[in-house]
Assembly symmetry: C2
């Protein structure tokens, strides 16, 4: 009997994960009502099959892969479907949300009879021929890790209840995306205070590895900045108002918002960063 | 004729810079009134000669190397001495202060007839046999860069007025110390949410270079954290309230304050970080 995986979210990450599952011979259904032509085409190219939400209850497992601000809404759409269904596939949230948001989301499934698994994805979308990203799972795990790894995903079991995989993601993303945001903010500050050339010389001399990393990570961030705003806010919430580091991520959300606005507007900041990171410059 | 360099500040950085100047045959005088026995001994060991503030006006150049919160106070002590003196050696502020603080500090010398040079030090204290740190200088430079490089310091001229060298330092320190603070905060968050082992595995796998860097930079930070609080506040002021990144550095000041308090208290956070960074662990 073939395995059906229901996937909510056919964005860059969702469709690439879906493609990998399809390539490993799973049937992957997805919900595309109201989505843009670009998304429809991306889903089609990935081999995903459009299906109504009611069909999700007939799948073997349900995955949610959406921007963090959408995670709760998706859960709110799926929970009633599972409540009304005889079959109760486990619901796996793979989004970059805080453990607290995750617990709240999971609570919405309490009366459905379906199991909720906390997950997170560390790394970029799957690329054909390459391993990764890592799909972290925590909670009441049974056959789900095996099922997903059978269909091509790299799985890491994170000890602990619902929330543990989300906590791991918050910490990892906080370091990784935080370094990118922090560095971009300081490069922009150097540029507006006339210190950009001197900073570039200093970084090349004493932080060559870091400068090399920024040459990739900062341009890679531009198209994702709008999505990282909510993720940084989730990290701030995860840290909690007693931790002064929460303020770091409130500021970081603002930095990514500024970049996202610039990308939709004058492109002045992006041009400044590109000039500073240009190796030939 | 021998060169006399007056040095205000015989802390770890000040005394090590002083030692390098002495080793390069400068006479270095310093002001030690009211300082601790530890500082007196450190100054003596570095070959610095105790002198009253009035003697500073007779030197060829005056350097200020103190924690950022002290920079203005030092300038306020030196300016009247230069105002009342016939000889007017240039005053070089080498502290991690914002360009605005630097400009305010420089304004205090306007009526003295003495020149103020903006400087900053990038890198750790000089180590015998090794080049560096880099002493950055900006403002109305004449013979000062040559004089200081003649006595063993590595000099970088930063184009621009008083404030440019300070801006460079703010940006560089913001990236460098910011990465350390950000990473320490997320390691602590992982530990308190039970994700420390999983984060360690993930960093070792996908961010091995960064983990290696943290194994040095985080323990190195513990004894300096109290000093970095004011430096992060200077960076926040430098960025200005219109820049969301200012919030990042307000949060960062809080993180370093927490570490500094822990070092004076229970050592619980420091022990947690040490366990997470332990290679054998």
């Amino acid at each position: 009997m073939s395995t059906t995986i229901a996937l909510f979210g056919a964005g860059a990450m969702g469709s690439a994960v879906g493609r990998r599952l399809v390539e490993s011979s799973a049937k992957v259904i997805t919900f595309l009502e109201g989505r843009s032509a670009v998304t429809l085409e991306r889903a089609r190219a990935a081999g995903l099959v459009a299906a109504p939400l009611s069909a999700f209850a007939e799948a073997d497992i349900i995955l949610s892969i959406v921007p963090p601000a959408e995670a709760q809404k998706v859960a709110d759409l799926i929970a009633p479907v599972l409540r009304d269904s005889g079959k109760k596939p486990p619901f796996v949230d793979l989004n970059a949300i805080s453990p607290k948001t995750m617990e709240k989301l999971a609570a919405g499934f309490a009366s459905t009879g379906a199991k909720v698994i906390d997950g997170s994805i560390i790394g970029g979308p799957p690329v054909p021929g390459k391993a990764g990203p890592v799909v972290c799972l925590s909670g009441d795990l049974a056959g789900e890790p095996d099922l997903l790894s059978r269909f091509g995903l790299k799985i890491r079991r994170v000890k602990g209840p619902v929330g543990a995989a989300s906590a791991l993601k918050m910490c990892y993303a906080g370091i990784n995306k935080g370094i990118t945001g922090l560095s971009a903010a300081m490069l922009l500050a150097a540029a507006r205070s006339g210190a950009s050339e001197a900073l570039k010389v200093e970084l090349a001399e004493s932080q060559a590895e870091h400068l090399k990393r920024l040459r990739h990570s900062i341009p890679d961030m531009f198209p994702k900045a709008y999505r990282w705003v909510a993720e940084m806010e989730e990290i701030a919430e995860f840290l909690g108002s007693d931790d002064p580091a929460a303020l770091i991520f409130k500021g970081m959300a603002g930095v990514f918002q500024t970049i996202a606005d610039d990308r939709n507007g004058s492109h002045k900041l992006i041009a400044t960063l590109e000039a500073m990171l240009d190796e030939g410059h």
